[in-house]
Amino acid sequence: MDSLSFDLATTPLRELNQFLHHEAKTGQVKQVTVLNPDGAHNIAVGLDCPVEVEVHGHAGYYAGGMNKTGTVTILGSAGTGVAENMMSGRVHVKGFASNSAGASAHGGLLVIDGDAGLRCGISLKGGDVVVGGSVGSFSAFMAQAGRMVICGDAGDALGDSLYEAVLYVRGSIKSLGADAQVEPMGETDLATVADLLSQAGMNHDPAEFKRIASRRELYHWNADANQEY
């Protein structure tokens, strides 16, 4: 038995998640299909083995949250906090994603084919995020490490209080947040964007992207900076 289906219309979510946390670790079932998710929250949270989960429909909050080594594909849209705090593995949203997609992800790859809402990649800590569409305001707020590739536009205050995360935006940026700046694309940046786009299965010319990184002026207290923090 290589694959197994859970129909959330008839099976409690807890059964699915407990299967994924325990039985799935034996490796006998490699592929799990989730039917009738109907926007349920917390689908496939806390994966801790290289199992593949395919969600046939829309997912609610925190789908694939805290994923480690697993692969989650959502054939629909995802609610707030998809792949939040992911450590490794991959989460792919074929539709749109709501707020805080990939929040504080430490690793792994989050791919969103459509648009993402507010605060996409907030507190990012080493994960990679590729968004086929646009992202809302306050995206990459306080992002510490990792990379974001945004194929569409970015909203207000992109990359506010950025640390060492690097953002690549193809479209327009409504405004940059405090301490974020546009920097020239180097050879490494072009290669990075090409690589992430190819991992995400998207096809754009890396040269069309701008690089946004931290000015690093907020790293230390500075009384003369006239900041209101």
């Binding site: 806390g46 925190y62 430490h106 800590k125």
Partner: protein, 454 residues
């Protein structure tokens, strides 16, 4: 006849109440630096507190327990609402969340050892779980903070309970702070930050806003831990009645309420002294909220912020708390503000260290500098050697033991075989302020301001 010149001294040397020397210093400091003062520890101003309450011991109308002989239980169970593996403690006194980063790894280990020996829990802090504290703590509460520094599902699985931190008493509404001196290579690595930066944590969680979202977030943690581990929700004391109700609504097993006397390793002084309400006022609001929801027996309440003595613990329990949490008192037990530190079995004077910080033992609040003269709130490789885990653990164990003995002494005097049987009826207030805040009668009267008459 000699005439004395008129004495004008009281007028010419009259200190202003509004512009006293402390205020003058504050304004000069602001003018010199253009930056607010940041410091450690909690509120220093005088506040209505548990000191303003006394117990009505047993007499003719109540029967006491034999103080030195009869058993008085201190066992405490936390997380009975939803968790299938509640926390079982020997004493109702726990160690508050304090981060590795603000404290050295040695200190975290000492806390774990002492807590484990006494059968109580320790708590991580902003910046993740260290191996030292996990290994040394039998029962470890893992905090989930707005910054999510070092937050790792493996540590969630290794923890015994999860504490969702909304705020802390020293700075409700504010995020953590760790100045560059303390962002050592190890701290920076754990938090995914560049070394030496002045780290200012977020004050809002990245993936939820408001109590309805929090309910889903807590559900996520429950699903992740297969509904085994208790979930605490910690709030800084402000609108405590409403906040506790919302925490219960969000699905908390345990609510932690931290009053404004609660400590910090680094926060703006204006925040420490002017935001939040005293623990005494908060505990009553929290208990009222639980009683209003008829959840007193299902959701446990932990109170923290200025709990120092066994009497404080007893009063918090009598007011309706199930347990207390101690941070600053624990650090003092380890040697915070002590004139000396113990290294290689000998006392060494620490006055030069205090002097270098412009302070002295007994007044120090310089945790934020990372130059703790007694080696507690530091990441400095030399200073941190001044607190050895085994020495610290022994002192802390003694402190906790003393508190627990004081607690049972009071409970027995009130005729209780279990410290959790202490009740509000056992308490009266010594001041009108305390009577009003705790809604207890003023001693010797049946007057509760705002409740019984004026």
């Amino acid at each position: 006849m000699e005439t004395k010149p008129e004495q004008l001294k009281p007028v010419s040397r009259e200190e202003s109440a509004g512009y006293d020397r402390k205020t003058l210093d504050y304004i000069r400091n602001a003018a010199a630096h253009g930056l607010y003062e940041i410091r450690g520890l909690g509120a220093k101003r005088k506040l209505p507190s548990f000191d303003d309450l006394v117990f009505l011991g047993a007499s003719l109308s109540r029967y006491p327990l034999e103080g030195y002989r009869e058993k008085c239980s201190t066992k405490t169970v936390l997380g009975t609402r939803f968790a299938t593996k509640p926390i079982e403690l020997e004493i109702p006194i726990t160690i508050a969340g304090m981060s590795f980063g603000s404290l050295s790894a040695n200190v975290k280990e000492a806390l774990g050892r002492a807590a484990s020996e006494m059968g109580t829990s320790t708590t991580t802090g902003d910046g993740g779980m260290t191996q030292e504290e996990r290994l040394s703590s039998k029962t470890l509460v893992y905090q989930c903070l707005p910054s999510r520094y070092g937050f790792n599902p493996d540590d969630v699985r290794r923890a015994d309970a999860i504490e969702m931190v909304i705020g802390q008493g020293a700075k409700p509404g504010g995020g953590g702070m760790l100045l560059g001196q303390k962002v050592s290579p190890r701290v920076a690595g754990m938090r995914t930050l560049p070394e030496g930066i002045d780290q200012r944590s977020a004050s809002r969680h990245p993936d939820w806003t408001g109590p309805d979202d929090l309910a889903i977030k807590i559900h996520e943690l429950r699903e992740l831990t297969d509904w085994e581990k208790p979930i605490y929700v910690k709030v800084g004391a402000t609108r405590t009645f409403n906040d506790v109700k919302l925490a219960v609504h969000s699905g908390a097993d345990v609510v932690v309420v931290d009053g404004m006397q609660g400590g910090t390793a680094a926060t703006q002084t204006c925040f420490i002294e002017h935001v939040g309400i005293p623990t005494l006022a908060a505990v009553r609001q929290a208990v009222d909220a639980l009683e209003d929801l008829n959840m007193k027996d299902q959701v446990q309440l932990i109170v923290s912020g200025g709990i120092r003595t066994g009497a404080d613990v007893a009063k918090a329990l009598a007011m309706g708390a199930d347990a207390v949490s101690i941070g600053q008192g624990v650090l003092v037990a380890l040697g915070c503000n002590s004139e000396s530190y113990i290294q290689d079995g000998m006392h060494h004077p620490a006055d030069a260290g205090y002097a270098a910080l412009g302070t002295a033992a007994g007044f120090c609040h310089h945790c934020h500098t990372g130059k703790c003269p007694v080696g507690i709130t530091t990441q400095d490789v030399i200073l941190e050697q001044r607190l050895q885990p085994e020495v610290g653990a022994k002192r802390l164990r003694n402190y906790l033991k003393t508190l627990n003995m004081e607690l049972t002494t009071i409970a027995r005097a009130c005729g209780k075989q279990n410290v959790h049987h202490l009740e509000r009826e056992d308490l009266v207030a010594l001041t009108i302020e305390a009577a009003a805040m705790a809604r207890l009668p003023l001693a010797g009267t049946n007057w509760i301001p705002g409740v019984t008459g004026y």
